[in-house]
Symmetry: C2
Subunit: 757 residues, 2 copies
């Protein structure tokens, strides 16, 4: 069921309606971020109604204990949580001693507008109280050019009457997480300064796991003119100032709050105050206008490489831009200790920062829409965390490296065993990402050193994790959870077995590329290689000859096999209506599982195999993961099921804008933001890049006039434009390159065109 | 590895050594209880070293929230916890202003002795400080005759010097559970009275689940003579008095503390003070000697029916008596709202009060060692909780009744899904208990009404929980955990399938016995009966022809099949050394699984089938559940593996006395206390009662001279005596009865004898 709060607008998320009933949803959809920090669309002046305050700093987290109940060996010791940090958004306002509060006040000409082109959140309204009317205008951004900086500006203009207006810029460190188990506060106050430059320094509370305690300094300075009075005050974890104006009709006051935020991730606690002040001085010297111009220029540069234009379907256009905007707000590769969190800076659900979603769904897009350094940072992130992956494997009593399902630092931080030590297929996705990066960019430098180290470490894990079944004379993998999390502790998940064997095969084939220094260190023995080869040769892949499909796992076909048509619509989504027991035993699939493997190794299966498996599994799939639609869109497109492909596209591209899953109030589905892009580029345009070959097989959705997009590929910038009739590929930057259009190879020097088939 | 703290003594748990390093272990092993309340062996005078204070009241608990993390539909909402109640044990002592504290003080002639025949805990020592020596003697019991009463007595006699001795009887309501997640205190103070009769009234804190809040009044009155001074004091959740004596050499002082405890389970909060005072008045009027005599008489009566005498092996003798003593201290059938908690009154681990252990392991013993009313109470407990069982099934979206794995009130209160909604085989054990009771006692009155209601409700659950596999043309049960908790979410667990089909079969066979009133109400349709019959006929039982065994579950034989001989002894027990992942994937079995079914339906399998399965599974079994050894002892005995049987006996009978599992400090393994008895009676003596026939096939363990025991059977009391040469069965009470001795039927009128075979 759709709930659409904002207008359809090609570059904006805007509305002229103040929707008090869905305040949290508005906050999620108007969140902004710059990869370093970000915040939900909370109102500067405060809001006494239901609301979810959220200001988050990348890489600042707390390991909440999970060791309640029935802890067992190998369970993770904590659940890593993104934590709410000092709230620096507020500029509270009183008019003639009345606190401005949109939860109860009368306002008119309300408008909120997130400008996605510029990365700026604007809001304005006329506040009415008796004979007084004041027009307030808010603008804020977290700078894409100077990451530690946020700028928040408020203007008040009196339209009727005379008004004494007090603006109160404020910072509040006394914040909690809504998902805190026992209403704990995760922060301690370390220092507080009140004055022209006010600041709060807070530090995360102690933890018994040896995880770093983060110290954060948040400093503000306000710039304004012609005020009557300015006072400062402070309290526990709170600093505030009050700036008073008395204005007649037509008079205006403008207050600009500059905020700098520093964390001990980058700056030692003892240097934070000095550095924060320097940043503010620098920013104020430049001035709001110049800062804004730099910020907008940075966004322009991003859009130049990544924009997708859709003609004839405004909703789709808005959807894809919203996806790209939110993804770039979350991550643009500046810091290889960071990753793409499931909620980005838009909420605190799902705890950890990093899921396999990054490699499976995000990396393929970044490879094409940003410089390759951005993608390389994501791989380097995993290389940095290799020691954590060794730790995870060791916790299970296994050799090699097991990348975590959820993490901040490489150590598993989720808290369900059926995820943490069963959903181990993610380990192969890390290997696949190395393949994907190397194959897409053609650059083997990562593979030679960091990459081969990761591949060997992952392969060592798989070689220890499989077991040989004497009875069946093959290798098996028992006790796993596949991508379909609606089953777990299953045996011989086709996807897991396939990708584990693929990883061993890819590693074996890459050994000779490793630098001699690293190969010496890794010391892969002949015995190991022989074992890996044996596993590749004797891996068991469940398959049913009669149905001609790969079997999801050993006993899948013993289930009662139904299709989603058999489901009572009132019981969907099943995860909100059925018991977990019923879900686990049913045949219904949460997201692509066998089909995920067919997507990854798309060049290794025949079209008949793809068709048989798609036709068998898709009808059982409930797509209750936000990651499901994109993979199905791509395969449906490949199989000529274009209407299905478009249906899946819509589902993923406007998932949050239309609140499909009825949970966007908790934050946006950041890691599925690439889904729409993948559906268009790999689905509709049919882009493939296997075996160092770039190819397209486009079609144009029926209700679109056309669509075009840019992609980066091996130092080139290409512009692909598709209409109902034809496709053109233009080389915007870089040298000539071979490509395949509808199975026809050609050399692209300037532009090539083809009729659609 | 054995740790034996106490001397080997046929009737005592005694020691002359003060073992400060193992204080908690001492406290567990000297716990006492009377079914209504009980306490660990905490010292009256206090103890400043490591210790675990524990005073528990039957049926008084708190539903601790479990909804942290990743709660899913159908998960239980809370984890029911036995909670520590007002500590009424203390009588603190100072001698010339020195607080007596055995953690640091010098003492000599120390002795502690739990007298199992009488149910009294005695302790004494000579306290030495410079020139002063005082002999202290402690005695306490919780009355088996007047359940709300505890009596605690201290005597001090000066052996050297002159001493001012202050005795301070005390009650402390400010207690916590060691397993409290966030150091919560589960109690509120409601009322406090200080004076001759001091009291504390406390109430459990609120909970969001609608579970009853319990109000408890604990009242004390002290009786003593010739004291110098007596004062009273109080504080938050604390009442205390101080009784001062100045004694010369040879002089004695005796203080007797009478305590009455009332809970809102039986007495309304507003009546508790009056009633508690009445009980104290009544007790003090009778006097300590008379109270003790009544208490000892009650124990004598119990022992008369239940004692097992072992000749020639003092350790075994002590072990079996300790088992019986602790079991009777926990439960003797007075209150059908109570059950046999896993730690009884000896600790607070494992939370809930009631496990399937009761029906599987405890009931068969109570049937034979106490009047049948005791066993009937256990069945009535489950009947009382039928509505909770309906609730549990409904939570899973299923029809009928699902008895809980762990509970206080019938509603599931454990917090792991792999237990709560997968370990559903317990449902059949409830049905089996009805069969067991009916078959053992020959009394069908329970079956006719309450029993048939339970059976039909359980059968309705099974009929909905199975599914029909078209492909295999049979009924299957997917997604279960068998008795072997070292695997879970398995398909077609042979034991679960077998017992589910057995339950349907037994229910179908019992329908005609149901009273017409109840059968009308139950309204079992012809369609239902047909479905049940179909399931019975087409149930799938995994079986391997080649190995000639029942297969534990669908893919068990695909595992790497090893035996415990392949295990590194330093890695045992595996649950303390291996990751849960490794355990789940291994072939190693925690406790009887297929063999549990062969034990239950012992008359349905051939000796060859028993042998093949025992020989296949036992070598893979690590026996890391305290419930494993008894079943294996019985089957080993039946198969003539007498040495193995004796080995298993020793393991179960002295599990706690010898701290085999290195966890007795947390409390005793109450629900496995019947294991030794089962091993002797069903194992060594080979008692069977299937099909209304009583039979024995005894042997005598090599290192025993002989053994004898009493059993109740269908209103008779029989005495069975076995030596190395012969067996005699004597009718002690009741009418003549047929029995089978070594396959020879005979009529027992007075005594029968036979040579061993």
């Amino acid at each position: 069921m759709i709930k659409r709060l904002f207008d359809v607008d090609p570059w904006g998320v805007s509305s002229t309606k103040l929707d008090r009933a869905d305040k949290r949803l508005q906050e999620s959809l108007t969140a902004i971020g710059n990869g370093y920090m970000g915040m939900r669309g909370n109102f500067e002046e405060g809001y006494s109604g239901d609301s979810h305050l959220g200001t988050y700093l990348a890489g600042v987290w707390y390991p909440d204990k999970t060791r309640v109940g029935w802890w067992k060996n190998g369970y993770p010791e904590y659940f890593g949580k993104v934590i709410n940090a000092t709230n620096f958004i507020p500029i509270e306002i009183t008019v003639n001693d009345h606190k401005v509060d949109l939860a109860i006040d009368e306002v008119k000409d309300y408008k909120i507008d997130l400008d996605m082109k510029k990365g700026i959140l604007n809001r304005s309204y006329t506040w009415v109280k008796g004979e007084i009317e004041v027009r307030f205008t808010f603008k804020r951004f977290v700078s894409a050019a100077l990451k530690e900086l946020a700028v928040i500006e408020v203007t008040g203009e009196v339209l009727k009457g005379t008004a004494t207006i007090v603006f109160s810029p404020k910072m509040d460190g006394n914040v909690v997480n809504e998902d805190s188990n026992y209403e704990e506060n995760f922060w301690l106050e370390m220092n507080r300064v009140s004055g022209e430059k006010s600041s709060l320094t807070t530090k995360t509370i102690e933890n018994p796991f040896g995880v770093e305690q983060f110290t954060v300094t948040t400093m503000m300075e306000t710039v304004m003119e012609n005020y009557e009075e300015r006072t400062f005050s402070e309290g526990f974890m709170l600093v505030e100032e009050n700036i008073t104006y008395t204005l007649a009709v037509g008079e205006k006051a403008k207050v600009t709050k500059f905020v700098s935020v520093l964390t001990s991730r980058d700056v030692q606690p003892e240097d934070q105050l000095t550095k924060a002040a320097e940043i503010l001085d620098q920013a104020i010297a430049l001035g709001e206008e110049e800062l804004e111009a730099q910020h907008v220029a940075a966004w322009q540069e991003r859009w130049h490489k990544a924009d997708v234009v859709i003609e004839g379907d405004a909703e789709s256009q808005q959807g894809i831009r919203f996806n790209i905007f939110q993804l770039f707000s979350t991550y643009y590769g500046e810091d290889n200790r960071l990753n793409v969190g499931p909620k980005g800076f838009t909420g605190e659900k799902y705890g950890g920062a990093t899921y396999w979603d990054t490699e499976a769904f995000i990396l393929p897009m970044y490879l094409a829409v940003a410089d390759e350094t951005v993608s390389e940072q994501l791989l380097t992130y995993r290389h940095n965390q290799l020691s954590g992956a060794f730790h995870n494997a060791k916790q299970q009593g296994l050799q090699g490296a097991l990348y975590p399902m959820v993490t901040f630092n490489g150590i598993e931080s989720h808290n369900e065993w059926e995820i943490t030590f069963e959903e181990i297929h993610r380990n192969s996705t890390i290997a696949y990402a190395i393949y994907n990066y190397t194959n897409y960019t053609g650059d083997e430098s990562f593979l030679k050193t960091k990459g081969i180290e990761m591949l060997v470490s992952i392969s060592r894990f798989w070689a220890d994790r499989v077991h040989y079944s004497k009875r069946n004379e093959c290798y098996m993998i028992h006790g796993v959870t596949g991508p379909n999390e609606y089953e777990n502790n299953i045996n011989n998940n086709w996807y897991t077995n396939t990708m584990a064997a693929w990883t061993l095969r890819y590693t074996l084939g890459s050994l000779e590329k490793g630098s001699s220094a690293i190969m010496n260190e890794l010391d892969v023995t002949a015995e190991e290689k022989a074992k890996w080869t044996d596993i590749v040769q004797k891996m068991y892949y469940p398959r049913d000859e009669e149905l001609n499909v790969f079997v999801q796992h050993d006993t899948f076909l013993d289930k009662e096999l139904l299709t989603t048509n058999d489901l009572d619509p009132s019981e969907r989504p099943i995860n909100q209506h059925w018991s977990w027991d019923k879900i686990l035993r049913s045949c219904f699939i949460k997201q692509a599982d066998v089909l995920q493997g067919i997507y990854y190794l798309n060049n290794e299966y025949t079209i008949e195999e793809k068709e048989a498996n798609y036709n068998f599994y898709e009808p059982m799939t409930v797509h209750e993961s936000s990651l499901s639609a994109s993979i199905h869109a791509i395969l449906a497109a490949e199989l000529g099921k274009t209407e299905k492909a478009v249906e899946f596209y819509s589902r993923t591209a406007r998932l949050d804008l239309d609140n499909y899953n009825n949970d966007t109030e908790d934050g946006l589905h950041i890691t599925s933001m690439s889904g729409g892009w993948l559906a268009i580029v790999q689905g509709f345009a049919g882009m493939r890049t296997f075996d160092n070959k770039l190819s397209f097989k486009p079609f144009c959705p029926k209700n679109w006039t056309g669509y075009n997009f840019m992609i980066k590929y091996r130092k080139r910038l290409l512009h692909i434009s598709v209409t109902q009739e034809s496709v053109s590929v233009r080389l915007e930057e870089g040298e000539a390159i071979n490509l395949t259009l509808f199975d026809q190879e050609m050399l692209l020097t300037d532009e090539v065109k083809s009729q659609l088939q």
